[in-house]
Every structure is written in C-alpha cells, then in structure tokens.
Symmetry: C2
Subunit: 256 residues, 2 copies
C-alpha cells in the first residue's frame, strides 16, 4: 500500500498504538487533534505532524480520519468534521457505525485488544473487526489491517456489541478478579506477585483446553468445607462475600 | 541431595506433576497408592514403582509420603498410614497441618500453581509454601523444593488459607469470567478463541503494572450508556446480569 495521509483524533492508548503501527508502515500522520492543544502538540511532535485543538481546522485532504477517543465523544467529533473526502473511522467496540452518520465514507476499525501507553504489546496478531458503509472502503481498511498482520473479521454493529460484551467478561472482569486476589494478598501482608505464576499458567492452559475444561478450585469440586471457610473469611466485606457466593454458584450451575 | 525414596498417594494432577519432577531429580518413586488399584498400577508403571490400593500395605521405609489427593480424603489417608518414619506431607492450600496430627514428622508442601495432566507446565518457577511440625523437616523440604527451582516460602496454616482464598479469585474466578466470555461468544456463533490475544495481553500487562492500574472497560470509565446496553443484552439470564452488575459496582467502588 502506498503512503496514506492519516489524521489521528485522540491521544489515548488506542491512538498511540495505531499511530506507531502506521508509522512503521511508512504512512504519514499529517495531523493530530485533541481538545487540549498541549496534548495534541506533544503527541504530534513524535510524528512530525501538525497539532490542532479545533475541529474546524482538520486537514481536509487526508485519506483516513482515525477517531480513537472516549465512546461518548465519538459522535460529536464526527459531526464536527466537515468537507472531508477520506474515510472517517472510529475504533470502539460499543459504538454503532451510525454514530458516524454524517459521513458517506464511514467505518468502524475495532481492535479486539487492550493497549497501554508505555507497555509494548506482546500479542500483535489480534482480531481487527471492520464494518464499513461503503464496500470499497471495507477493502481498503482490510488491506490496511492485513499490512499490520492483523486477523480481519467483517462484523456489523450488533455483532460487535456482542463481542464487546464477551470481552468485558473475559478481560475486564477477569482482571478485576485478579485485582481482588492481589488486594486480599496485600491485606494480609503477602506479596501479591506470588500469584503471578499461577495466573499465567491458568491462561497458558487456554492454548490447549477451554476455560470450562480448565476450571479448578473449591467451587467446581463442590468442596463445601473450603467454600464455607472462605465465606467466613470474607465476613467483613459484604460485597466481596456476595461476589464469592455468586461466582461459586455460577461455576457450579454452568458446569453441570 | 541424594536419592530419596518417595511414596506417592494419589494419581491426580498434583501427584503427576511432582512424580515427574522427582524422577527428573533422580529420586525413587517406590510406591503409588490409589484406592482404585487399576489407577495406582497405571501410574506406578511409568515410574517402575509398586502399586497398592491398601493403606495397610504402605512401604514403611520411605523418606517421604506425598499425599496429593482431594482435600476431604487427606485426613483419613494420613490416619491410616502407620509405622512410618519418613515425613508425611499433604499438598493442599485449604487443609491445615493439623489434619496430619497422627504423624510427628508432618508437613505441608503446597504449590501455588495449577497443573493439568497432559499440559506441560509453562511456568515452572512458582511459589512453594512449606509448613512443617519439625524444624529439621522444614530444612529438608526446602532443599527438595530448591532443587526443583521453586520459590520457597514458610507459611503457617492460617496464612496458607489467606493465600488460597486470594488464589481462588485470581485464578478460578478469573478463569470463570473468561469462560462466560467464551460462552457469550459461542451463543452468538462467534469463535471464542477470538478473545485469546486480548486475554493474553491483559495478563502480559501484569508484568509491568498492577491489575488496578491495568483495568480498562466500561465499568472503570463509568460509561453508563454501554453498561446499560450490556445489562439489556443480559436480560434473559438473571444470574449473569446480577454478576455483571455486581462486578461493575465492585470495580467502580474499589478504584475510587
């Protein structure tokens, strides 16, 4: 693919990740938008791009407008981009394509992955979910994603919401259970990192077996003595105790 | 350490893992016990060991009696081992040392790790939690664990229960959240494995930041629109909906 002119809207984790990937593929970040000009400038400098805090100043000749901002800001940003001919995409799992209704060349470019500034992504081959108003733009975005070595899936807005909900359980909620484990360790002055080999091995198993097959522990064993002991230990935290009970019940009923 | 004579009681995942490690260190598995003689025999054969289904036939001259069985079976097995001089250990996170009260040389040898037969453990350097009635046996077990490259911690029964509870959240409950994610994918005919790069990357981040810092998603962003949409999608599964609500509330209140 020849060099594409790209405007990045947003300076967060997703914007940072893809700006880097676009650069590696020799595309040109021509402009960076953020309502805070300082942030826009600091981000833009790294790519020798222009910075702006004003949507009326958006470069009108770019090939791609890459909106990677908070869900609630997507629609209003899209509404305030005018007179552009390139494709306008957003990168959210939970926002419909419809949020970009002002633009004929509109699409969603949703990475099923988590990014954090400053942490090099170890799993670079993740699914990239594309939905496009125009068939020809779909091809273009597919090519862009394939160049990055991503796994392309064509997914409509309803399907994307389904996958996003699944991802919330599998990533956000799983991470929160790990956080609770860390908190319980710290509360008793044990080093939380002691749990890491166990956590990593649990995930490693998912390369070979399903999470249903991988389940271990008192709940799946119906080990009522241990469960009662654990609930007793959680007596001073009603919400944690309720969570333990609910998860245990759910494990037991869904693995009949 | 010179060759130790070891009796393995149990044929499950933990027994299998440690039998293998003991062998690699040139220790001798002299006998395998399981109430089902077929199972005992099949396990023992791999180690050129005797098999027995009868606790009255336990070899009385071994250095170590390694009880790796279900929690509820530990005490009765220990009670029925007689006239032995070696150390009797169990490997459970949730059972007190007291369960081995019959034996003067009694100890706990608890691996903070998950094992599954047939899956090669990727994270071999995990914490090994030791509690021993006799100080000299503590030294012996430490040496045994260090030989395997494990991280030795001396932990009493109360502390072990605390760590076990934390591990249930960080491993069992986190795995269950992943299972729910897989189920939600499958229910809508999406390939559950699409979630794997995301799941792996979430865990990879924990090498650098805490799970509290790593949290992303609608709950931590207080994205009420997406949360409401997700709850609506879970309307046909009351227990899953409750779990979503509870986890969301817990994320929001514990990351103030």
């Amino acid at each position: 693919m020849e060099t594409q002119k790209i405007v990045i809207l947003g300076c967060g984790n997703v914007a940072t990740y893809f700006a880097e990937r676009f650069m590696q593929l020799k595309h040109a970040i021509v402009q960076v938008y953020h309502p805070d000009l300082k942030k826009a400038t600091s981000f833009a400098t790294a790519y020798h791009a222009e910075a702006t805090a004003n949507l009326s100043e958006i470069n009108q000749t770019a090939d791609l407008y890459f909106i990677a901002v908070k869900d609630i800001a997507i629609e209003s940003i899209a509404e305030n981009i005018s007179n552009v001919n390139g494709i306008v995409v957003h990168t959210s799992g939970a926002v419909k394509l419809e949020a970009l209704r002002k633009h004929q060349r509109a699409a969603v470019f949703y990475p099923l992955q988590t990014f954090t500034k400053g942490i090099k992504t170890a799993h670079q081959q993740f699914p990239l979910l594309i939905e496009s108003k125009e068939k020809s733009d779909e091809k273009y975005l597919e090519q862009l994603a394939l160049e990055m070595g991503l796994q392309v899936h064509f997914i409509n807005s309803t399907q994307r919401t389904e996958i996003h909900l699944a991802a919330v359980f599998a990533a956000n909620f799983a991470n929160h259970c790990i956080k609770i484990g860390y908190d319980l360790m710290a509360a008793q002055r044990h080093a939380p990192e002691m749990l890491l080999p166990l956590i990593k091995e649990s995930i490693h198993k998912l390369n070979y077996i399903s999470p249903a097959q991988a389940q271990t522990g008192p709940a799946i064993r119906h080990d009522d003595v241990t469960i009662a002991k654990h609930l007793d230990m959680l007596n001073n935290d009603a919400s944690l105790k309720l969570l333990y009970e609910l998860l245990t019940k759910n494990i037991q009923s869904s693995n009949l």
